[in-house]
Symmetry: C2
């Protein structure tokens, strides 16, 4: 029976990648396989789209509320995209970590940099790469009716995102989806065994040593 | 098909624990399950025992040869136990790591400290703890004919070893052997995906980015 004195602080598992690398499929499989892992829910000031549920897809906030939270330093990371704000509220993440739950983030290198500034010890950052340039181009070209300009824009965005691979702890080249999922699951399992994430080990060891 | 430009530098996986924590069973299972992992073979100046094979159980060296290697700084770690020397020769470990093989070490905290001084970047240090004091005492008491003094000596040695748990990257409390084996396998799989262990990633990403 596990010793009651040891409990685990949760971790923040970040997956970043250029679009088309398979990140979404990996994230979906992880959430299904790992009951102790939950997706981070972002806040946004954009309007809900049909079918989106407040508190599930996003926390939908008005701009004054978002700005008040910004002023209170209540976000782990945030960004403005055109006229809309997006951000990760601190409080629910902190509550999850404190009870030993792990939180999954699907964010880009800019969000990851902010998380690293605000919560480096809790962060496990994984970068997913596509297996080849041919495969990446195939996926970014998407639908046949996309203009060359749109495709070029996607390629440039992917190239920019990939230039930040060195800022991540782990790199998974997604040759094969099942192997990549097992790889990220191993990262999660291993990081849970890191000495620093196990609270109460000092007391536990003292008891083993009879002191 | 995996990209030929990325290859992996091997890692040194250290398992330490007080005796009776299950380390030997975990190591044996790991070596069976992981073809890319080989046990480090120590050198020693003690005489071979019946059934021991030179180069398999130990590299059996005479004292002048061992001391010459010491003088050449040819050991990753070494120790003197009573009249005998023990040590891990650098060259075979370096050869294995260079070709992407991982090497398993069953050494105590003193050996681990020396490995950390000589090869910190290649080191993954795992400490195995017994599940409880009751269980540890049961295992250390061993055979009924052992004197109290012998048992006390074992307990003191275990307590000393356990006082060094903070010097390890990962801590596995061995409640259940199968779970502990899976845990150490996850550590190995995850550490293989660490950015720094994947040689050639920079070139690979540059090609993906078209630069």
């Amino acid at each position: 029976m596990p010793d009651q004195t040891i409990h685990r602080r949760g971790l923040m598992l970040v997956l970043s990648s250029p679009s088309g690398a398979g990140k979404t499929s990996i994230a979906r499989a992880l959430l299904q396989a790992e009951p102790g892992l939950a997706m981070s829910v972002s806040a946004t000031t954009r309007a809900p789209r049909p079918g989106e549920t407040d508190g599930v897809d996003y926390h939908f906030l008005d701009i004054p509320r978002f700005q008040a939270m910004l002023a209170e330093n209540a976000f782990l990371e945030h960004a403005r995209v055109f006229d809309h704000f997006y951000g990760t509220p601190k409080a629910p993440v902190e509550a999850a970590l404190g009870t030993g739950k792990d939180v999954l983030f699907d964010i880009d290198w800019q969000g990851t940099q902010q998380l690293a500034q605000n919560a480096r010890d809790d962060l496990v950052a994984v970068f997913i790469l596509p297996p080849s340039l041919v495969e990446l181009e195939r996926r970014l070209k998407g639908r046949a009716q996309d203009s060359d300009a749109v495709v070029q824009q996607r390629m440039a965005k992917a190239a920019d995102e990939m230039s930040h691979w060195r800022e991540y702890d782990y790199v998974v080249v997604n040759h094969d989806l099942a192997t990549s999922i097992r790889g990220v699951q191993a990262i999660l399992a291993a990081e849970r065994l890191k000495r620093d994430r196990q609270v109460g080990l000092a007391d536990f060891v003292n008891r083993l040593r009879g002191v």
